[in-house]
Symmetry: C2
Subunit: 238 residues, 2 copies
DNA sequence: CGCGTCATTGAGTTCGGTCAATCGCTGTGG
DNA sequence: CCACAGCGATTGACCGAACTCAATGACGCG
């Protein structure tokens, strides 16, 4: 609990990933004690209820954050990709679990020290604030999907969100890689079977292409947006 | 855009409500330009898509925040009560609408000036950060309701949350005042009729009491928690 | 009084869940 | 090299929880 956080000043920028490994970063604050951690697929980073002692930064791979009900149902509250932080909250216990979805590499910081340094640095706080505000905005969007859209609309909105989140793809129609059906299902409050049905239905309608290994290509963006907005756009009849 | 925010240093404390009217507050920073605003029931504070120019603080009354889909469906993403802030985000446009649920009194600050002052004040930023983190935590809880619980569970969780949020009620079993059925429905992703049915069902089961004017008293907390957790607790049969 | 709003209750429908069988791919070991 | 096990995805048949539509009741207000 006495070690000091590093290289924090690039927080929020996409370059944070790079910055956290660099040397000048180490110089900005005392002792750069971010430790590395490598995770195998489906290995847990922490479990819901664990004391919150660290803050994590994803270097590579992908992480799912989820909450469990006593009934056994699982809600995936979000996916985390390279360049993003995990566990920025201020609680003493984690309220959700974090698990690697594939081979994943992290940096971790002692959260007490992290907060100690950060809480006196307005510029950094501002970045953290923005990061949390963005998480909040995504949470609202998810609520909209889960509460107000039908299954087709939820999936459409999800596909568009995945596309928007891919850093490189400003140009259109790259092949995106989706989480497993079960993960999408638990994210959107649906079932694995429903996701599968919707996806093949979207493919039949010529709206998306389905590739192997969870690959998709979005073809008809307008149709997806229409579905996400709940507009049951009439389809060509001939 | 040039006026300066006031009395910000008590942000996040329950005492913020009081503080914002007080004189010493005005002295802490330059010119206390928070302006007062009175709203009639169902009057809008702002609409989704409006440019974000102000930050609001609820003095009295209640506010619903909601997003609309083009299909006409409405998601109430949260309710705001006295002592809470609205529109802390950093976007240039509001992504949801805010509407008074009853006669409501607000303070408003020019957000540019607010941020200008705030962004150099680590202590204040920390409070804002915590406030947003709490909103995020509530959003997760809502997602859980809307995605993973059945109707009865959603309503049970909602009732418990309302109770937990009432400031005075550390002692048990006060009469809470609920939003209208339609508001609860649009919050939980259900319909007005379903809310009504569940509520009378909970009353029949002796778990709650229903009073006039949206009043409820929670009787059997254990049963509510069980329902929220998705545990279909067996009921006494004799 | 009559109107509007909100809540309750009922009857019928539907979307998505559940259960279950099958397919296809990958990796492993004989 | 092939057989087989394991896992994820797909597809089908059936079911049920919540929605929709509709009628009625309770209240407050002009």
């Amino acid at each position: 609990m006495t070690d000091l956080p590093p290289c924090i000043r690039h927080i929020g920028a996409e370059s944070a990933a790079l910055a956290c490994g660099s040397a000048d970063c180490a110089a900005s604050y005392r002792m750069p004690t971010c430790s590395r951690r490598r995770l195998a697929p489906s290995q847990h980073i922490f479990l819901q209820g664990d004391p919150q002692r660290h803050i994590y930064f994803v270097k590579s791979g992908a992480v799912r954050l989820y909450e469990l009900l006593r009934s056994g149902r699982r809600q995936i509250i979000g996916f985390k990709f390279p360049g993003e932080f995990i566990a920025l909250g201020y609680d003493d216990k984690h309220r959700y679990s974090a698990q690697a979805m594939k081979s994943t590499e992290l940096r971790s910081f002692a959260s007490a020290a992290f907060h100690a340094v950060v809480s006196s640095q307005a510029r950094i706080l501002l970045k953290l604030y923005e990061a949390v505000a963005q998480d909040l905005s995504r949470a609202h969007e998810l609520t909209l999907s889960v509460g107000q859209r039908d299954a087709r609309g939820s999936v459409a909105a999800f596909l568009l969100q995945v596309e928007a989140r891919v850093p490189g793809a400003n140009g259109k129609s790259a092949v995106l890689s989706l989480p497993a059906r079960g993960d999408i299902a638990d994210h959107l409050g649906l079932t694995l079977e429903t996701i599968s049905r919707i996806l093949t239905q979207l493919k039949r309608d010529g709206i998306i292409e389905l590739h192997e290994r969870g690959g998709v290509r979005l073809i008809d963006h307008a149709a997806l947006k229409a579905a996400a907005d709940g507009v049951t756009q009439e389809r060509r009849l001939f």
